[in-house]
Point group: C2
Amino acid sequence: MQSNPRILAFDPGYERLGVAVLQKEGGKEVLLHSDCVRTSATLSFPERLGVLGAATEALIAQWQPQAVALEDVYFAKNAKTAMQVAEVRGMLSYLAISHQLALFQYTPLQVKVAITGYGQSDKSAVSMMVLRLLGLHTLPSGKRTLDDEMDAIAVGLTCLASIRLGQ
Amino acid sequence: MQSNPRILAFDPGYERLGVAVLQKEGGKEVLLHSDCVRTSATLSFPERLGVLGAATEALIAQWQPQAVALEDVYFAKNAKTAMQVAEVRGMLSYLAISHQLALFQYTPLQVKVAITGYGQSDKSAVSMMVLRLLGLHTLPSGKRTLDDEMDAIAVGLTCLASIRLGQ
């Protein structure tokens, strides 16, 4: 992989898919794009997968990333929800592999430690450090930032930090 | 969908993916193809998804099905295994949707009832009825039949029966 890979990062979900595109430029982490892709509750679950997969393919085509980073959660309060999020993760993993992109997965704990240095950080501490690392006061999208979008950015920053450390 | 759709059926798994292609011809269920796609334990999980997805894309290209049928299990003894099977199922669902194929999912109970008329049937009873429905003594592949291959055929027969009943 080239030394400054462009990362397409996800916080996987089927109602809301957080996405972010990041790359190091001049030694600094730069956020090129972030969004929260939503799917209508009127769609069936496979139709939602279709919407999210098409959005992912469009992001890969537009941003030409070298790597994909996913948040990887193997538990949830609700078993069916956990399974459906796993289905989204499987689809995203396959889209990465089938486009010959490197694939990295991080647990929520790894993300918290990479961003704040502390595994028990709450969401607001992670968000504050994400903005600080990017040298931003608010996200450029100007929207009220959704957790999913912020989480995807945190996953992307974790990936940039991990690649730098050769992990 | 045309009145006699060709079905690509799966018993999803990441070590072994059971696959079957079935279609009604002259009012009779015909098995056109069945196999068990295996992945090496030396591969990472995403690499295994890559192998299984490529095999699925090749099956879609070769057999040109109109519908995909999956066995849909939302529990397992081991939570991590259940999640990884869910990742395979998400990938298969997305490949169906992205190829504009109809997608049908059946629980193990629905498959047992469709094949044997009884929800508590054991595997040998299901296998025996599968062969009887197909008018076969053994599977044409001639191999020692793996459970996964037989399960995929049972899912495909369930789909043919459900479509016939307009379910």
